[in-house]
Symmetry: C2
Subunit: 183 residues, 2 copies
């Protein structure tokens, strides 16, 4: 069974959450070890007790991404409104755990972190497959890129800590476009 755990490692999750938040709200450059520890309410020594180096912290964050991604693909495949409509709707920032890790990962991808780049490419492939099953292989890329465009634009538009842009109307018009592509 499990070894003798003297105390629960509360700092571990707190550090990971803080790292995620900093990536999302301030960008990769701001997500230094000191800043992460401070936001997590943990000493730097405590942080490095759990994650021997920054790379290790990133790895665990990517594992979190993998899990939530898998769940999301499951929901997308089972969505009653169809995979395409689900995908478009889920391409708008909603502050869900899934959105949070994904945006955090995007920040790492932006600075060309190789492992992150690969995970995101894999996610894209997964989405594309389900879209092809829904709207046909010919139009799948169009829908994928629409959603991606929406996503990336929202990320760029808000910048660090800025307000969320208005995208409700955008989603409706994209949904209409998807219907036209399907026809």
């Amino acid at each position: 069974m499990m070894g003798p755990m003297a105390r629960k490692p509360v700092a571990r999750e707190a550090v990971l959450d803080a790292f995620e938040s900093l990536l999302i709200e301030e960008g990769e450059r701001a997500a230094t070890l000191d800043a992460v520890a401070r936001l997590a309410g943990v000493s730097k020594g405590g942080l490095l007790y759990h994650f021997p180096n920054k790379e290790a912290m990133i790895s665990v964050l990517l594992e979190r991404l993998d899990g939530l991604l898998r769940e999301d693909l499951g929901r997308m495949a089972a969505a009653p409104e169809g995979a395409a409509a689900y995908f478009i709707k889920s391409s708008v920032w909603a502050d869900t755990p899934m959105d949070r890790v994904f945006v955090a990962a995007t920040r790492l991808a932006e600075v060309a972190h190789v492992e992150t780049l690969q995970r995101i490419a894999a996610a894209q492939a997964g989405w594309l497959e389900l879209l092809a099953a829904d709207v046909g292989p010919g139009m799948a890329k169009a829908v994928l890129y629409m959603g991606d465009g929406l996503y990336f634009n929202a990320m760029l538009a808000r910048g660090p800590g800025g307000p969320l842009p208005e995208v409700e109307g955008d989603v409706d018009s994209l949904l209409a476009a998807v219907e036209r592509l399907r026809g």
Copy 2:
């Protein structure tokens, strides 16, 4: 009149080109003053003679972007195949001066550089206007996001110095999608 013009400022353009290249191929983090100076074949002191600080270097790069953006909007408005088709085709990386500054600017936007964020938002607005005139206001956003998705995916996919991904087929399918949206 003018004072004595000793020599041509050859370093200035070289520095700007080097800055652009580093942003594109290695990302913002790698585009340090030392790296830029080295790639430009100029001393750090020489670099700082022309650009008093990094911000100034960015400003001049953004001016370069503005000029090329204006030209591109002109070509898009006059494109015989229509603004939408022109936009999709031009959303694929072609290593033109325009593509180069734009990607460089995107790298800065990724690290939340405010002025760059604003310029890119303005560019998006310009494109959207021409797209609305071509395919109608209802479908303009769909086309815009398709192009953006294509663009951002290509950027993410190739990472730093990596090879260009294959997108010829993507462009064709997006072009077909645009026709369906127009109908």
